[in-house]
């Protein structure tokens, strides 16, 4: 079978299942008595196992298989969850994640699972003595006479049925006087393998090869070929006495499972297979909506929302980009059509064009929304992270997530994960006090971290708030002075807000001691620079004794920015609005020359004047001739500069386009391009290149 084409599907689905496993394990930890959660976990693990086995990732399959055995005992109330089991299972999830990650990186998905498998086996053995529970680990060997499928094979059969293949149970008998039984058997296998895949044979292939079988052998077989065709081809092998083909359907598959040794986990696997036949049940564990309310506090809501899974498809982001490109073409044609219609002045034409305009406006809305993804995909890794952190720091922490459905552009989503990880670690490690300190301060033992996301205007806000000890202002100032970030004099005049921002300075850490999770030298400055590179910014509010709130403001998307369009003679340029402080005009007489550099007085400070026309060698505009020139005041860090331009066109949302590889490295003033409503390309000026 050609596996590569299924690889991406496998990876996506494995990630979904791992996520679901993580979430549900967390929920289960909150309510260890809820067997329905165990069921969901079991199903996820089971599917994951089936997929891994099909794809040939044996370590993955082996580990999930053992996990399943443990879970199976739990859901049948033969074993109750305890701290040890939770820890082991979480470790297993980590190992699974590592293996899937390895597969994503092109590896073979190998992992050292022996230890974990032993631990799982010990759990199974330790709590229910023997009881045949270990039997499930391997396909039972002792059973002769009939064919027994183990769980891997059952799930393979099940999945083949799903994908429209036929499954057969085939019994072949060779004639009594047959001389070379093994050779005949080989020929039958040859026929079979040409048309499909043998899942399991009895006796085993080795035994058949060594002629260690009586007169007949039987196989489970998957194929797309028709029954009659197979029968014909097999019968054509000489010295075959009889061929019996039985079509295996879902029901008989389920029965097959049930007919096995009733106390082995394989039985459950079979009923699982039957359950999988009902799509609603099979889908529910992966339902993203269950994750939306992943906050451990509201598990009831999460459990009930499992059925309303949104139906989605995965689309290559490049296809979306080309869709957007084509669409912008359409918009240009629309503008042209509107123009023509107004010239032609025919009623029915005007009406049609107007209708088309409305439809394309709606279409534009949808196309832009296609790139939007709920922040949930980032948030859903945090419950587990906070759990582990709290455990290792010996604290009690509740994570409350609100607004996980808030949507952001895919490109922003991909980038925002790391800064959030950092801030949440910071909140749990530095913010929330130890249990003893919390009790001393009259707070409840359990600290709370709120993670919120919401829309506001053209921005998305993400907030991380905890009810911990707050930022110790005197200490921050002391450290800042010691590190030379600012002088003692300056420190006196800082507002609370400014003081709080100091923690974002490079190499700044007020942690008393280096702990397991922080103090490794990577500071909040990295968080800040990452967020600003996304065009957002971060602020801190803190009250001593009652907690801290980090608030991140992000643009909805990176591919569309707000810009100021300006004219320079016949040419048009765009300035990102985020770097513009002010627009205004300047009189020629106000421009002074200082040491050969042109400067103006701007709000009591002297700032340099830059002529855009000179900078871009404008062919048909020069500010030399103007008495009064329009200007843009732009900012880079704490430096300002006045940029002289010809005329303002106005503010507009523009779609960023790269200039192409050919231009890369040669153009320093221009950071990209955009396509204006009339189809013309306008260049986007890089404000950072204007301020030296």
């Amino acid at each position: 079978m050609e596996m590569n084409q299924y690889m991406s599907m496998f990876i996506d689905e494995s990630n979904d299942h791992l996520q679901s496993l993580n979430e549900n394990m967390l929920r289960l930890e909150q309510q260890p008595e809820d067997i329905s959660i165990v069921q969901i976990i079991f199903r996820s693990a089971h599917t994951l196992k089936g997929m891994s086995a099909t794809m040939g990732f044996e370590d993955l399959a082996a580990l999930t298989h053992e996990m399943e055995n443990v879970l199976d005992l739990v859901r049948n109330s033969k074993l109750s969850m305890n701290g040890n089991i939770f820890d082991t299972l979480f470790k297993c999830l980590d190992a699974l994640e590592a293996m899937v990650q390895d597969i994503i990186n092109g590896g073979a998905g190998k992992g050292d699972v022996v230890d974990l498998v032993e631990r799982l086996k010990a759990i199974v053995k330790g709590d229910v003595e023997g009881k045949g529970a270990t039997k499930g680990a391997k396909a039972p060997q002792a059973i002769s006479a009939s064919l027994v499928l183990d769980q891997y094979q059952l799930s393979i059969l099940d999945q083949s049925l799903d994908s429209g293949h036929k499954a057969y149970y085939i019994e072949v008998k060779v004639r009594e006087d047959c001389l070379l039984k093994a050779a005949r058997a080989y020929m039958v296998f040859d026929v079979l393998e040409r048309n499909g895949e043998v899942i399991k044979s009895f006796p085993s292939v080795q035994e058949i090869e060594q002629e260690q079988f009586d007169r007949g052998f039987s196989v489970y077989y998957i194929s797309q070929a028709e029954e009659s065709l197979l029968r014909d081809q097999i019968s054509r092998v000489s010295e075959i006495e009889s061929v019996v083909l039985t079509l295996v359907d879902r029901d008989s598959l389920a029965e097959l499972g049930h007919s096995q040794d009733s106390s082995t986990p394989s039985e459950e696997a079979a009923s699982e297979v039957a359950a999988a036949a009902e799509p609603a049940v099979a889908i529910s564990p992966t339902a993203p909506s269950a994750a939306t309310s992943a906050a451990p506090r509201t598990p009831a809501a999460a459990a009930s929302s499992g059925n309303a899974a949104p139906r989605t498809i995965r689309v290559d982001i490049e296809r979306l980009d080309s869709l957007m490109n084509l669409f912008s073409e359409l918009l240009i044609d629309r503008v042209r059509l509107e123009q023509l219609a107004s010239e032609v002045r025919r009623n029915d034409l005007t009406e049609t064009v107007e209708h088309m305009a409305r439809v394309s406006a709606d279409l534009q809305n949808i196309v832009l929304k296609l790139r939007m993804v709920p922040v949930e995909s980032v948030f859903n890794r945090f419950p587990r992270m906070v759990r582990d952190l709290a455990k290792s720091l010996d604290k009690k922490v509740d994570l409350v997530i609100v607004g996980a459905e808030t949507e952001l552009d895919r490109t922003v989503i991909d980038e925002i994960g790391d800064p959030l990880v950092h801030l949440i670690r910071n909140a749990v490690d530095h913010g929330i006090e130890s249990i003893a300190d919390r009790v001393k301060a009259g707070k409840s033992e359990v600290g709370t971290v709120h993670l919120r996301a919401y829309h506001s205007g053209n921005h998305v806000f993400i907030e991380i708030e905890e009810d911990g000890k707050g930022i110790n202002r005197p200490k921050v100032l002391e450290t800042a002075i010691k590190r030379g970030v600012l002088s003692a004099e300056e420190a006196k005049n800082l507002t609370d807000e400014e003081t709080n921002m100091l923690i974002f300075a490079a190499g700044f850490s007020t942690a008393d001691k280096v702990s397991d999770v922080s103090g490794r030298g990577v500071g909040l400055d990295v968080v800040k620079s990452k967020i600003s590179s996304l065009g957002g910014h971060v602020t801190v509010h803190s009250n001593w004794g009652t907690g801290t709130r980090f608030s991140i403001q992000l643009p909805l998307t990176l591919s569309i920015i707000a810009a100021m369009l300006i004219k320079l003679g016949s040419e048009k340029y765009a300035f990102p609005l985020s770097s513009i402080v002010e627009t205004g005009s300047v009189k020629r007489s106000d421009i002074r020359t200082l040491h050969g550099n042109r400067m103006i007085d701007y709000r009591n400070s002297i700032i340099p004047v830059v002529s855009l026309a000179v900078l871009v060698d404008s062919p048909d505009y020069s500010d030399e001739e103007e008495n009064e020139t329009e200007m843009l005041v732009i900012r880079k860090g704490d430096k300002l500069a006045a940029i002289l331009v010809d005329e303002f066109i106005g503010q507009s949302e523009i779609v960023l386009k790269p200039l192409g590889k050919y231009m890369a490295g040669t153009v320093s003033v221009v950071s990209g391009a955009t396509i204006l409503g009339d189809g013309q390309v306008a260049l986007i000026v890089d404000p950072n290149a204007l301020i030296k």
């Binding site: 080309s322 957007m324 490109n325 084509l326 669409f327 912008s328 073409e329 040419e571 900078l615 871009v616 060698d617 062919p619 386009k657 790269p658 200039l659 192409g660 590889k661 050919y662 231009m663 890369a664 490295g665 040669t666 153009v667 320093s668 003033v669 221009v670 391009a673 396509i675 189809g679 013309q680 390309v681 306008a682 260049l683």
Partner: protein, 153 residues
């Protein structure tokens, strides 16, 4: 064995040139070009090709020929090679031709002022026609445009 190569034929200063057809994405009529500052003179700027911004160079300028006024026949040939997409302004483009690989000869040392390295071969067609086959990788070489850039500063 002689193989057939399909080439797009275009003219530049009365001479005929060819680019293999699989390197050519489309041929466009002239469209408004947005000038990009601080680039060599032969880089005319960028155009909007169905939503994608593509740089355009004047092939005459690139080869050091005298640049000509654009006419009705002027075309922009969008080529893709070396991971780069670039438009070439040419005097005209109106033919697709099959060239037998055994009709292609190595470029002579000097050919109409165009550096030999830009040429991968010369194909003889019929009795009197010569087709100059371009070596796109060299024509699109970015090191040269960066050199020119530094020279200008």
């Amino acid at each position: 064995m002689a193989e057939e190569i399909k080439v797009i034929v275009f003219t530049l200063a009365q001479e005929e040139y060819g680019i293999e057809v699989d390197k050519v994405r489309t041929i466009e009529r002239m469209v408004p070009i947005t000038r990009v500052p601080k680039t060599p003179v032969f880089v005319k700027g960028v155009i909007n090709l169905r939503g994608i911004v593509i740089p355009v160079i004047d092939l005459r300028g690139r080869f050091g020929l005298v640049e000509a006024e654009q006419t009705e026949n002027s075309r922009i040939i969008i080529v893709a090679a070396n991971d780069l997409e670039v438009g070439f302004i040419v005097d005209s483009a109106n033919d697709v031709m099959d060239v037998m690989s055994d009709a292609i000869e190595n470029p002579p040392e000097v050919l109409g002022g165009i550096k030999a390295k830009y040429i991968s071969g010369v194909a003889k067609i019929g009795e009197s026609r010569l087709l100059i086959l371009l070596n796109l990788v060299e024509v699109l070489s970015r090191s040269e445009i960066i050199q020119l850039e530094q020279f200008g500063e």
